[in-house]
């Protein structure tokens, strides 16, 4: 094993939310603007390098 190198093993977090407003639930967290998402990622120390989405969800490739 190398003395030091890049840590490949990931940490994975899955969070589920609920709400009562059907209008919000339809899009929910997808309503978050990019600045808010980046602020969350700042806490983690990542940034978005690429993104794609469809009618169901948004997917972001992050730095690191």
């Amino acid at each position: 094993m190398a003395v030091s190198g890049f840590e490949g093993f990931e940490k994975r977090l899955e969070l589920h939310f609920f709400g009562d407003d059907p209008v919000v639930i339809d899009m929910g967290l997808r309503l978050l603007d990019f600045e808010s998402i980046q602020e969350v990622l700042d806490a983690v120390q990542c940034t978005v390098v690429s993104a794609v989405g469809n009618q169901y969800f948004d997917a972001y490739v992050l730095s690191e």
Partner: protein, 279 residues
């Protein structure tokens, strides 16, 4: 690293020395602004190759659990933390789940029973790993170089119906997200010899054709040909994990250990480890 944002669900997976758990508070705050409250949390990881390099709160699983306990709302009262061992002490699976009563009940009668499969591969085949290094002065950017790696390695054949968003890092490394309807898949690669690593993760339904799951697994391990890998399967009520060894062992890997544990709301987590059969 990857982030998936659904209307009421977020999945975030990060490598290196990122401080993933620090995303919980801001995510909860932003969700609350939208009228959404946290009802369940699941945190998983393998064993770090360089644990001493990890910053707080990832300095140990114990610290991570304390951080989670302190930062999750009290209504997520059904909590469990466990380290699932394997025959290789350096390959353990760390799981923490927390759920509130509503989510716990909802999970007992879901509309569709889904599973999550997380594969962690180490000691990648050196020739195959070389494909994840950028060529010097290739005239490409991260997106175009990523697309080239996706095609060159056969990653685009794992699920041909997925839309792939890929990125190649400089000088090496690769990440991709696949989207196929409401399902995601993701691959991350650290190709450097000595600590090479690749991960694959996907979601599926227990009603999927078992042959399709087997075919996908075979394609994944053949892209990297790792000496060692683990497969963690999380599913509320079905033995999807039984198809894993059946698909992989004929290709030359042997299942060395298999452990199972139950988690409130998340269901059964099955952790299997494989090594090359010749060893």
């Amino acid at each position: 690293s990857s982030l998936f944002v659904y209307p009421t669900k977020v999945i975030i997976k990060t490598c290196g020395t990122t401080q993933l758990l620090k995303s919980i508070r801001p995510l909860m705050n932003y969700a609350q602004d939208l009228g959404l409250n946290l009802c369940a949390c699941r945190y998983t990881r393998g064993s770090f190759i360089f644990p001493k390099a990890q910053p707080f709160p990832h300095t140990s699983f114990k610290e991570e659990v304390i951080y989670l306990e302190e930062n999750l709302p009290i209504n997520l009262c059904y909590r469990k933390a466990s380290v699932m061992p394997s025959k290789m002490p350096s390959h353990s699976w760390h799981v923490f789940t927390a759920s509130d009563q509503t989510h716990l009940v909802a999970q007992t009668m879901p509309a569709e029973i889904t599973f999550t499969m997380e594969i962690c591969m180490t000691e990648l085949d050196r020739v195959l790993a070389r494909k994840f290094f950028r060529r010097a002065n290739d005239g490409k950017n991260g997106d175009t170089a990523g697309k080239e790696m996706t095609e060159l390695t056969g990653i685009d054949d794992i699920n041909p119906s997925a839309i792939i968003c890929d990125f190649a890092f400089d000088p090496c490394g690769y990440s991709m997200n696949g989207i196929d309807g409401d399902r995601y898949s993701t691959i991350h690669v650290t190709p450097e010899d000595g600590y090479s690593y690749a991960s694959f993760e996907c979601v599926g339904s227990i009603y999927d054709d078992h042959d399709d799951i087997a075919k996908m697994l075979k394609k994944v391990v053949q892209v990297f040909k790792p000496a060692t890998f683990s497969v963690s399967t999380t599913c509320s009520s079905h033995e999807v994990w039984t198809h894993v060894a059946r698909a992989i062992e004929p290709l030359g890997w042997k299942c060395r250990s298999c452990v199972m544990d139950e988690f409130p709301a998340a269901g059964s987590v099955v952790f299997q480890t494989f090594t090359v059969a010749r060893r």
